[in-house]
């Protein structure tokens, strides 16, 4: 293990596992699927070393439900998968959202639909930002574009999950997961032993002395049949999602005097940044806006740029999903063009130069 502030050279997948470990994650439930296998492999070794638990579950369904069980006990826990596996995890994620159980879920997005391929894709944007499973709920969605961000965001995801009693999703892709680059780890921390003590399940007599009376039993559930009960729960969830608006994070690059702002996230955001750099050298007034939180979406920041008269081009590795959020954000003053990289293709910065120039030229 690297010392403090020492740069280590790791894959994005490993950075995620390290971020979890250093944030005090003590249970990991996994299932093999490419391109995220480095995460369970790392955790199968790391968890026993810190007295934690690693379970290779019988399916993604089971792994996500194990996360639900561990989260209900107030223990920092994580599961990871990739797109086809994420479809299976949606069941438990919906229950976790409905019954307010914290947990961290990682999706290293691969090409779809169906089995697709094992290459990168952003095709799960809708699934990630619209809840993903049945019912009306949202997840906090963090989208890293480097190994360091993968580490930092995963670390932070645990704090957010417990602060809001909610599942938090890390949305990467095969590029982020498989790319190797330097990161700096923070000092490992332990979860606060009191974390979740107002609601977590541990037995009614937990922490009591022999002569103390057990507390009333706690029920963590998402079934609300009494009149008005479910509406109340949904209002409570909505208030929570509203409160998330302050958590918005994004990166801007060369937007100040830009006529055209390229909006892209994750690995595509990083590739687009290089294209913007190339074009800036040619004197073109283009910039980059990269959402780091996909939900909540940085709509106010985009709206402000639209008010300033900027135009937008959304580039994403799917058939056009985030572009809907961009258009909603800028709708009063602008629109957004769209350039799609079809899942199955691996883009390079050069691929983006021409479409950006085309969009810049159209007025």
């Amino acid at each position: 293990m690297a010392g403090k502030n020492e740069r280590i050279f790791v894959k994005g997948n490993e950075a995620i596992a390290m971020g979890a470990l250093d944030a005090g994650c003590r249970c990991f439930f996994g299932y093999p699927i490419t391109p995220q296998n480095d995460i369970p492999e790392f955790m199968s070794k790391a968890m026993p070393e810190v007295g934690g638990e690693f379970v290779q579950a019988e399916s993604e369904l089971a792994a996500a439900n194990m996360l639900l069980g561990a989260g209900a006990c107030g223990v920092r826990a994580m599961t990871s998968s990739s797109s086809p596996g994420m479809s299976l995890k949606q069941e438990a994620i919906s229950y976790m959202a409905g019954s307010e159980i914290p947990g961290v879920i990682v999706n290293m997005n691969r090409g779809g639909p169906g089995l697709g391929d094992i290459g990168p894709s952003q095709g799960d944007y809708f699934q990630s930002t619209r809840g993903g499973g049945h019912g009306d709920y949202r997840l906090l969605v963090l989208a890293p574009s480097s190994a360091q961000e993968a580490y930092d965001m995963t670390h932070k995801a645990f704090d957010l999950a417990y602060a809001f009693r909610s599942p938090v999703l890390i949305l990467g892709d095969a590029i982020i997961g498989q790319m190797k680059e330097p990161i700096v780890r923070r000092a490992a921390t332990l979860a606060d032993p009191a974390e979740g003590k107002e609601w977590r399940l541990e037995g009614t007599a937990a922490g009591l002395k022999a002569n103390q009376k057990p507390r009333a039993h706690r029920i963590i559930k998402s079934l609300f049949l009494m009149d008005g009960e479910l509406a109340g729960q949904n209002m409570k969830l909505q208030a929570k999602y509203d409160a998330w608006k302050d958590l918005v994070e994004f990166e801007t690059f060369e937007v100040k005097d830009a006529e055209l702002v390229v909006v892209a996230f994750g690995s595509i955001g990083r590739i687009a940044k290089n294209a913007v750099r190339v074009l800036r050298k040619q004197g073109k007034k283009v910039g980059l806006f990269r959402p780091k939180t996909l939900y909540p979406f940085p709509e106010k920041a985009l709206a402000k740029l639209a008010r300033e008269g900027k135009r937008f081009l959304t580039i994403e590795h799917n058939l056009g999903q985030m572009v809907e959020d961009v258009r909603l954000s800028v709708r009063r003053d602008a629109d957004s063009e769209l350039f799609c990289v079809y899942p199955g293709n691996m883009p390079s910065p050069d691929d983006f130069v021409a479409p950006i120039l085309r969009a810049l030229g159209r007025k």
Partner: protein, 302 residues
């Protein structure tokens, strides 16, 4: 939503179910000189009317779980994984910390609980549709890993809450709302015998099938349940007990006739008894040291 078609009053599990218990509380037991109270509500069982139909055996199974939690002094450190079906409201009756699991996933949820908090006593309580159909993978693998869990499996051969549809344990020829002509072996397969299957798995420490149709069988079933609890508390492995139970409403029978059906039709197909019992010793360090060691066999099967 569940439908109670014919049958006695109480609708199976609906709003009324979760509704406030307006019923009078049980009379506080007063004991006169020369007598002793030999049967009363266990402390872990809530003093409220259940939503179950008349003659439904969930109430008996609930009571026995609560009795064992009290007798074995486990209630204060228990976390339960409730399942989907009529017994989803387990937490309204058995007063222990409980998390609701998706349909069939209780053994996976329970695995997460036990791994996260190995010092807790963890049980799931599941019906036949939940456990033997949609949750088959989860129950098999939790047992096979030897998770230190106890599973109470209530087999009444139908999906009760949703209106009596065919279950994996529905007997050949038995009529349900989705096999109105009777279950046909060629089309719908044979009823699954879970106790026999679970007994075959390496991590299972105790596995038995009891029945709730008679006083004698109920008392025997409780002994099995105790052993299934002990498989966990002694760190031996996975504990499983199947309980043959009646569903008079969906069987379209009176409670008395339903009990007779268990005796005459179910028990011959689902034989009662212990299917696996590991001899083990809780002092065997390697066996119980960590959750990560789950799966180690504790001894030979009897």
């Amino acid at each position: 939503m569940p439908k109670a078609k014919s049958a006695p009053k109480a609708a199976p599990a609906t709003k009324a179910a979760a509704a406030k218990p307006v019923m009078a509380k049980t009379v506080a037991p007063k004991v006169a000189a020369g007598e002793e109270l030999v049967f009363t509500r266990p402390a872990s069982l809530a003093d409220r009317a259940t939503h179950y139909c008349p003659g439904c055996h969930h109430g008996i199974a609930h009571r026995m779980v609560a009795e064992l939690l009290d007798e074995m002094d486990l209630a204060g450190r228990t976390v339960a994984a409730s399942s989907i079906g009529c017994s989803v409201f387990l937490y309204n009756y058995i007063q222990v910390d409980t998390v609701e699991s998706p349909h069939g996933r209780a053994p996976a949820v329970a695995t997460g609980i036990k791994r996260a908090r190995p010092d807790t006593f963890v049980f799931s309580y599941q019906g036949d549709g939940d456990l033997a159909s949609i949750g088959m993978a989860e129950i098999m693998h939790a047992a096979n890993r030897g998770e230190r869990l106890t599973v109470v499996f209530v087999n009444n051969t139908v999906y009760g809450m949703t209106g009596g549809q065919m279950a994996p344990t529905t007997l050949i020829g038995q009529k349900t709302t989705t096999c109105p002509g009777g279950r046909c072996k060629d089309r719908e397969g044979s009823p699954i015998r879970m106790a026999e299957i679970i007994a075959q798995l390496g991590g299972t420490a105790f596995c038995a099938r009891g029945s709730l149709d008679s006083v004698k069988n109920i008392r025997q079933a409780k002994k099995y349940m105790r052993q299934a609890f002990e498989a966990q508390t002694r760190g031996l492995g996975f504990g499983f007990v199947e309980l043959l139970s009646g569903c008079p409403t969906n069987w379209r029978l009176s409670p008395v006739a339903a009990n007779k059906r268990i005796t005459e039709e179910m028990i011959p197909y689902f034989p009662l008894g212990v299917y696996k019992e590991l001899e083990g010793d809780a002092t065997c360090g390697s066996l119980v040291s960590t959750g990560a060691m789950a799966g180690g066999a504790a001894g030979e099967s009897k």
